[in-house]
Symmetry: C2
Subunit: 428 residues, 2 copies
């Protein structure tokens, strides 16, 4: 339990619960909690170091189990104040872990197959989990504007969270985004700014703004609040284990965009082991990408430690990060746990979306098609063990990527009479 325990390094005005300091993932250099994201010594990524030293395992378990049906049941393990559940926020999480017996039969899994369905979150993607952490950090640092660059799920998650929290929001998107996505981001009433340029231009501008007085008081959830934001993905690990009856799954299949979600799921599992909340036994983490944006999968298969950037071209737009910041950490984790990283074609993504919908009644975003498709492929290739318990993540909602399955349609057209019905072969 002591491994990641550190003494607080100051900043007593900031109450973010058990978060004690920021610590560099590369060199271990420690700085006080603040809106910074890169190590001043080595430019490595900063992440939260916690003080969990006071926790008694059984008392903690009881406290969690008596907590609310959302991520705040895990407040003792997150960078948030103890009274977080009383503040206005979207209360995401505690989404369903669906025992997918129909899908298991189709795929030949006998050890138990589960879908962690994050489409049940307030704005229907896992982004609500991470934004909720960034929001608490923004409050702690006195920020008055919540911001991000986004082309999809994150825009809605930030807009909605800020609206409920009573903060200003300002979301930056490429000016020529599809109208449907603009509407989903605009409806929450915050500033929605179109940038004349592509997504890279939007990101470059946001970095510039953070360093300028014009951006004072602005919390960019995935830039200067990134260390806090990223921790939200740990709650996926906590929920999966608690919903399995405080047990680790044998195998878990996670989508890779920046790779942050996968690394934080591993961090969450490690914390549960150290805290004694689950038995310490092996688990394997598998990463899933779309072939059209598969830099991590390519590196994994080639046995490389570095990830060569790619130009994304896939329908799985929520995963289309060609230069994933946490790619090397993902490779480490997949190799250390005995997992793998694999990719599937867009056609396989679409097939997998339909497979999951047809077998379990879950309509997944393209990212869910990627994880289900990769699960099918890894089972076929004998990389995933069908006799082991397996959890597959669906991180978003099919209603947001309707275009991917636009080919789906009527199975028959008939005239409104019984003869026409019988002719079509529809009678029982």
């Amino acid at each position: 339990m002591a491994a990641q325990t550190v003494e607080s390094t100051g900043n007593p005005t900031v109450d973010l619960g058990p978060a004690a300091a920021l610590s560099c993932r590369e060199c271990g250099h420690r700085v006080p909690l603040g809106p910074v994201f890169a190590c001043e010594e080595c430019f490595g990524p900063l992440e939260i170091a916690y003080d969990f030293s006071a926790y008694d395992t059984e008392e903690l378990r009881r406290r969690i189990e008596a907590g609310p049906a959302n991520i705040w049941r895990y407040a003792p393990l997150l960078p948030v104040p103890a009274d977080v559940a009383d503040k206005p926020n979207l209360n995401p999480g505690w989404t369903k872990l669906v025992k997918a017996d129909n899908l298991a039969r189709e795929l030949g899994v006998t050890g138990g197959l589960y879908v962690k369905d994050d489409s049940g979150n307030p704005t229907h993607s896992f982004k609500d989990r991470v934004v909720a952490q960034a929001l608490e950090a923004a409050r702690a640092f006195g920020f008055t504007t919540l911001s991000c660059s986004s082309t999809g799920n994150l825009a809605g998650a930030v807009g909605a969270a800020a609206a409920r929290a009573g903060l200003r929001s300002c979301v930056f998107i490429p000016h020529d985004l599809e109208q449907g996505k603009v509407v989903m981001a605009a409806v929450y009433g915050g500033e929605l700014v179109g940038i004349e340029g592509n997504y890279d231009d939007v990101n470059r501008f946001c970095s510039e703004l953070i360093g300028d007085p014009a951006g004072e008081g602005w919390g960019f959830v995935n830039v200067n609040l990134r260390p806090y934001y990223a921790e939200g993905s740990k709650t996926l690990a906590y929920e999966i284990c608690e919903q399995l009856g405080w047990r680790l799954p044998d195998q878990i299949v996670v989508p890779i965009a920046s790779g942050s979600q996968l690394t934080k799921i591993d961090k969450g599992l490690q914390e549960l082991i150290r805290l004694g909340l689950v038995e310490d036994r092996p688990y394997k983490i598998f990463g899933a990408q779309a072939e059209g944006c598969s830099p991590v999968s390519t590196a994994f298969k080639a046995g490389h430690d570095v990830v060569r950037p790619q130009k994304p071209d896939t329908i799985a737009k929520s995963l289309a990060i060609g230069n994933p910041a946490d790619g090397p950490y993902v490779l480490d984790i997949a190799r250390r746990t005995g997992g793998a990283v694999e990719d599937v074609t867009d056609a396989e993504v679409v097939d997998a979306i339909k497979l999951l919908a047809r077998t379990e009644g879950i309509f997944a975003e393209t990212a869910g098609g990627v994880t289900v498709g990769v699960t099918r492929k890894l089972l076929k290739d004998g990389v995933l063990d069908p006799a082991k318990s397996t959890v597959v993540l669906n991180t978003g909602d099919g209603l947001k990527t309707l275009d991917a399955v636009a080919g789906t349609g009527l199975t028959a057209t008939i005239r409104p009479n019984l003869d026409s019905f019988r002719e079509a072969g529809l009678a029982s």
Copy 2:
């Protein structure tokens, strides 16, 4: 507690838990549980009569509170077998009751304002609640095909529920429905049949099919399974009261399509009172319609007991039933409880969708715009009491009716540099 208690009238092969018989709402004639929906004596609607006589209040409360985080915590009060939670279904319900303090401030409500947000259901509308009941009835009666006519939410709910349950599904829609809606219904892989005709033709055909051997083994969730189906709306009443700490709200605003949801919410509240789970004190139920389909509101204001059919013309398509079957019962309930029925224009619906999104981060379907809009109107008119606790239902998801807010868009367009940002007046 004894008021609705009846002795079983037979059909011992059907185990639907506390459901004892079907009873005519008009004449009280009782028949055994079966796939029938109209009284053979008077053609009145049949509804479920329960045997709750064995329940001890505190034991029942403990049993509910220890139950799963979905509608099956209320299995002892629903027409479902005791082991329903172990069967494959979508496990809807236990959606968030959001304390809407920002919205309350804007509307001047001081007595506590809550939004019951049913967009959190598996297919993102309250229909998952009712379909889940129909599914259990279909299983009990040995049906192998789950069916419905629909132009929206119900199609997806039936397709998804049948997929997970391993039943065949067959959904009938007008052949020329918008492509987006077709995709949402088709993705679950069941039969999706386009009927050459309008929605009335679809319904007429379905009624014909039910009476024909070609339809043997078919359960139409909202026709021959309607008495079971409709009971699902009671769970909204149960959840609201339990989430308020086993208290009745003073006022509740419910959308009206067929009117069934409102009447079953009243039934649910009455049951909780009779069972001793909540204190017996007055509550008022308010019905909400869109002006373009306001037959019940029109009858209420005119002081009529009968509802004159209208031809719907509104963006609130999920409420667009021009001849609502339960209209007269809605009028009864609104008058008996001291409530009212009101309507709002499409423009007010859109404004209300945006108001709810901007204040609480909840993106509602047009039906949610109707209830929020009517709430605002009734407060302004002094019909709703701002000092009383008030619950407003949002029964669907904004992602399904994006067209309604298509006018929402960018608040600014800038070049990717700080000068352009400052010029636009966006700096803090």
